[in-house]
């Protein structure tokens, strides 16, 4: 079984990305995909917002390194990411980050009690690869959070 965050062909990576976004757009949680691919040296930066139900915004930043090859079949791997979910004007819901060089040097997630003053819970460390979510899993988690807090969000 391939590693969850292992190497992939760029074309296959895009197919997975599109399948995830199509599913989320179809089921209605995602309202708009505003992500942009920008080439950087030997890599691709994927950044932008995914607009969701309940005015929730997911800010996505990923560095996809091109490890080998050319064209659509080049081998790529995500080497850094940040998925920041927020309620604009209110606060953050959670943020998954890859390790930083200066602090928080392991994969981690920040969670906030956004509907009750925005206090941050202790950082959770994601020491196992399986704990580190894909973009699709992040959107699923956000949808579950939105539906679980539907009444509170509707009253805002």
């Amino acid at each position: 079984m391939p590693a969850k965050h292992g190497l992939n062909r760029l074309n296959a990576y895009l197919q997975i990305h599109e399948t995830v976004m199509e599913r989320q757009l179809r089921n209605g949680f995602v309202v708009s995909d505003e992500l942009v691919f920008t080439p950087i040296h030997n890599g691709i930066l994927l950044e932008g917002d995914i607009l969701c139900q309940g005015t929730i915004r997911l800010q996505v930043r990923k560095i996809i390194k091109i490890l080998q090859g050319e064209g659509a079949d080049a081998l790529v791997q995500t080497v850094a990411y940040s998925y920041n979910a927020l309620l604009p004007g209110i606060g953050n819901i959670f943020r998954y980050d890859s390790p930083h060089a200066t602090h928080n040097k392991e994969h981690h997630v920040h969670r906030y009690n956004v509907l009750n003053g925005g206090v941050q819970f202790p950082i959770e460390w994601l020491t196992d690869e399986e704990q580190r979510p894909t973009l699709g899993e992040v959107i699923d988690e956000l949808a579950a959070w939105c539906y679980a807090n539907y009444d509170a969000l509707a009253a805002m």
Partner: protein, 88 residues
């Protein structure tokens, strides 16, 4: 000129067009392009201006625990990481 393509636009293309666009992205990525550096650096400068702090000072403050990591700081950090990858 900065070569960018949106995820939404890519999804509208047929397989052949997608492969062509992806090949274009890889080709641009292989030829380290000055406009990408300028794009990333301008975003970093906007943070430095807003916070009245250099990126080096930010890194020192984070390392010493004097600066907390907020979502904006995380965005700034990610830009610095992207610039570092870009420079390799």
């Amino acid at each position: 000129m900065l070569h960018q393509i949106t995820s939404a636009a890519l999804s509208q293309f047929d397989d052949s067009q997608k492969r062509e666009e992806l090949a274009g992205l890889v080709s641009y990525a292989r030829s380290a392009n000055g406009s990408t550096s300028a794009y990333l650096k301008s975003k970093v400068r906007a943070f430095e201006t807003r916070y009245e702090m250099s990126s080096d000072a930010l890194l020192s403050a984070l390392e010493s625990g004097k600066q907390q990591e907020t979502s904006e700081i995380a965005e700034w950090l990610f830009l610095l990481e992207t610039l570092e990858v870009h420079a390799r």
